[in-house]
Symmetry: C2
Subunit: 191 residues, 2 copies
């Protein structure tokens, strides 16, 4: 339970794409703007490019929490100290990107009991990715909030044309605020 | 349509784990033994450790088939020349391993129209992984056969104790033969 005297909850916004030419920083930046304008939480953007987590490279089972590699221990500490996480991710072939799954699979107990929020984007908004990622979140005992904004990109955007989120995604603002309100509520009730 | 004079169909058995201490080579080896004893196809084991495919590193969209990297072009050629694929993969956190998704996402048209088979393993057999992977397979227009063997590992096996597939997995042999019969049938009818 948070008291008014507490520091604001620390929320990590984790980007699911490391691809060259990715739209993810633009979209995550817009998500952060909405978050900061509509809630009193503290946000940090996590770019998995900055976290060199080689593919499935821990020899042990992450559920045991004994990590052989310094990069895993650093990642463990980062997630352990967060109060909630927001995934902002593209849909790839009706699922989640490998880089995001790899970052989740490196840990286990660090995710437990934290409220989470899933934002997807893609040609059809990425709802199939969201559903798969929701299942993964539940496996690691994150608590995803009910509202999962799914942002539809045009063919041109997917092809690399500039995105102007405030204009292009205006239709999603209310839903995004609703999701953040749910996240904030989950943090306050400790659910 | 294959004629009796054709070379036998070339089937790639792709392992979904690169983790140290993985059970995958033992399980995939047992799958291959059953395959070779029960069908006239030609099998090759693919270890993704041998295919250095950095995470989502193609700058373009794989569906366009224009690859910037030599490793992607080699992977493209490997899959393009196969007639069918078999995935043998652990379930991680109710989903597919990052390394397998990354290998699939590097390509697109190379997978189209090929019969596929999904074998999973895990503490509960990996059926949740199989369902998610089936959705990915459909996204890239692979044609998964209906039978998806799901092999339950004991706690001891997950912890690293030796696996003796012929004894430990005897209960799965018939189901495995059925899946390979379906794969062979799909290749013969060109479905």
């Amino acid at each position: 339970m948070l008291t008014p005297e507490s520091d604001p909850p620390a929320v990590l916004v984790i980007m699911g794409s490391v691809r060259a030419g990715r739209a993810c920083p633009t979209i995550a930046g817009w998500v952060l703007d909405i978050a900061r304008a509509s809630s009193a939480m503290s946000y940090e953007l996590i770019d998995l490019r900055d976290w060199a987590l080689p593919m499935d490279d821990e020899p042990g089972i992450p559920a045991r929490g004994v990590y052989a590699n310094g990069h895993t221990r650093a990642w463990s500490e980062k997630i352990a100290h967060a109060d909630a996480v927001v995934f902002v991710t593209p849909q790839y072939n009706w699922g989640y990107p490998a880089v995001l799954k790899n970052a989740i699979d490196h840990l286990y107990k660090e995710w437990h009991g934290k409220p989470a929020m899933i934002v997807t984007y893609g040609g059809h908004g990425g709802t199939k990715c969201a559903a798969q990622l929701q299942q993964i979140a539940e496996a690691v005992k994150l608590h995803p909030v009910a509202t999962m904004p799914a942002i539809t990109l045009t063919e041109a955007m997917i092809g690399g044309s500039a995105i102007e989120p405030q204009a292009d995604f205006a239709v999603h603002v209310e839903e995004m605020r609703k999701a953040f309100a749910e996240l904030s509520g989950a943090l306050q009730t400790g659910s």
